[in-house]
């Protein structure tokens, strides 16, 4: 019962933090340098790992589906399978997981350390709301960068799949047919649904990480504990939300 109440309290407190952040939306133009810095951290520094990982996810997906679909004589549809899987599911989910692991953890560690070493208290006493300069630029940046990262993830996954299809002897589907099928079965709605999911995941991950970071109490040991809590909570939320968003979108 106590755990349930604690979860409800955290949820309410995170919503309150979002409410306070929304009050400072009009100050976003003044936060432009911080917004750009966060765009760099969330987008540019995450891009290499997204590229590599999603390329190989697309490759593995093509490999596995080529092996299975050959039995049904349907290997010419691999392009559609890889394309739709990346756009609707794997792209947004993988990007969200990578952002949680790479950026979310860094955000939690930074904010938790600011809280523990009283930098957040110093902001409060200076009448500078932490939500305005610490949360708002990060949330704005993730909303801008998530679609960009997801598009890159999708493209890398497609090309990874195409390469495998072309150069694996047992599959032998050339790139032209691969992309022709992909294009035939892909609708704009599939892409927009995937991007919408990515936006929701990114927003939730950064909210969780900022909230846990800013509510860290104690000493350096609690910074580590907050980090673990933020990542685990983010991953749970990504996968649970994924199911429910799919339910709504499909």
């Amino acid at each position: 019962m106590n755990s349930f109440l604690a979860i409800c309290e955290s949820f309410g407190s995170a919503l309150c933090m979002l409410g306070r952040t929304a009050r400072y939306l009009n100050t976003l133009p003044r936060q432009f340098p911080r917004f750009i810095e966060q765009c760099y951290l969330i987008g540019y520094t995450t891009m290499p790992i997204v590229t590599i990982l999603c390329f190989f996810i697309g490759s593995a997906l093509a490999q596995q589906s080529g092996y299975s679909m050959e039995n049904f004589g349907a290997k010419q549809f691999i392009g559609a399978l890889v394309g739709l899987s990346m756009v609707r599911e794997l792209g947004p989910v993988m990007v969200a997981i990578l952002v949680a692991g790479r950026v979310g953890s860094a955000i939690t560690a930074e904010l938790a350390s600011m809280k523990v070493y009283q930098e957040v208290d110093a902001l409060v006493t200076m009448d500078i709301p932490p939500e305005r300069i610490l949360v708002l630029p990060r949330l704005a940046a993730v909303l801008v960068m998530m679609p960009v990262l997801t598009v890159i993830a999708n493209l890398c996954g497609w090309y990874g799949g195409a390469l495998v299809c072309q150069y694996t002897k047992s599959i032998s589907v050339d790139s032209e047919s691969y992309f022709a099928v992909l294009k035939r079965f892909m609708a704009v709605r599939d892409v927009s649904d995937g991007l919408l999911k990515a936006e929701v995941f990114g927003f939730v991950v950064i909210t969780i990480c900022c909230h846990i970071g800013l509510n860290t109490r104690g000493g350096p040991r609690e910074i580590g504990a907050s980090l673990t809590k933020a990542i685990v909570t983010s991953l749970i939320f990504i996968l649970v939300l994924d199911y429910f968003i799919n339910e709504i979108l499909i």
């Binding site: 930074e110 070493y117 930098e119 208290d121 110093a122 409060v124 006493t125 200076m126 009448d127 500078i128």
Partner: protein
């Protein structure tokens, strides 16, 4: 430039503090118990007490970082626990560890407040920051990161950051803790000179007997979460209260060491 070439007085009037029947409990532990006292506008008020007596918690109530379990804290006419008070009264808090923003240079640490509150363009802000730095002889540290500073410099930067705010109320948490006697004396001189030239109300939480008795207009002693005595420094020099005498002039008694007494208390 020396501490005599000090910042101009704050454009706003100085304010006093009223603490009335303040009680704070964390779970079942009562940290502050019915604390009442008043700090008059423009005075240096020192709050002394042993470790764990509730000094820092009391300071956090005054800046609004803690909410009282019961009782009230007012800064001037405003309720300290109301976040809107910080927009009405300029109060600056010099944290014990400095609480400098580690990801920013010394200059950016000082410029943050005027930038965020739009107190002029960048040239005006630069002038303001450089003036505060020069008061504390920190011009050479302007481009340094907080991690490159010594303990004494960090404390001075924290005071300079408070000065940039042109505060009506300046709160210090253990400003001389962990500093050598010379640096400690320098900080004491800075606090006294700032008050002399800016008439800012100063509340200093300290263990430092020499600081409290040399520059304070009035001193309060807090013990076990209660105010034990309030008075001018002379009152404490001739006090007959054994607890206060023992706190201000602790004698080393190897035949009856204090740690043995602490052990008995725990049993």
């Amino acid at each position: 430039m020396s501490t005599a070439d000090i910042a101009p007085p704050s454009p706003r009037p100085t304010v006093g503090i009223t603490v009335a029947h303040l009680t704070k409990k964390f779970a079942n532990v009562t940290v502050l118990n019915d604390v009442s006292f008043e700090v008059r506008p423009g005075e240096i008020f020192c709050l002394m007490g042993p470790s764990g007596s509730g000094k820092t918690v009391l300071l956090k109530h005054i800046v609004g970082l803690e909410i009282p379990t019961s009782g009230q804290v007012h800064i001037g006419e405003f309720d300290a626990s109301d976040p809107a008070t910080r927009a009405k009264v300029r109060l600056a808090f010099v944290f014990q560890a400095g609480a400098l923003f580690n990801s920013m240079t010394v200059y950016d640490n000082l410029a943050l407040y005027p930038r965020e509150h739009r107190l002029g363009g960048e040239p005006a802000i630069r002038e303001r920051v450089m003036h505060a730095l020069s008061i504390l002889s920190l011009e050479k540290a302007v481009a340094k990161m907080p991690s490159e500073l010594s303990g004494g410099m960090r404390r001075r930067v924290a005071i300079a950051r408070a000065l940039v705010m042109e505060p009506q109320l300046l709160l210090y948490d253990e400003p001389t803790a962990e500093l050598d006697p010379i640096l400690g004396a320098t900080i004491i001189e800075i606090i006294a000179t700032l008050r002399e030239h800016t008439a800012v109300t100063s509340l200093v939480v300290t263990h430092d007997r020499s600081l409290a008795l040399s520059i304070a207009d009035r001193v309060a002693i807090i013990m076990d979460g209660r105010i034990r005595a309030v008075g001018v420094p002379e009152d404490f020099k001739r006090t007959t209260d054994p607890a206060i005498t023992d706190f201000l002039n602790p004698l080393i008694d190897l035949k009856h060491p204090r740690f043995k007494q602490l052990e008995n208390d725990h049993e």
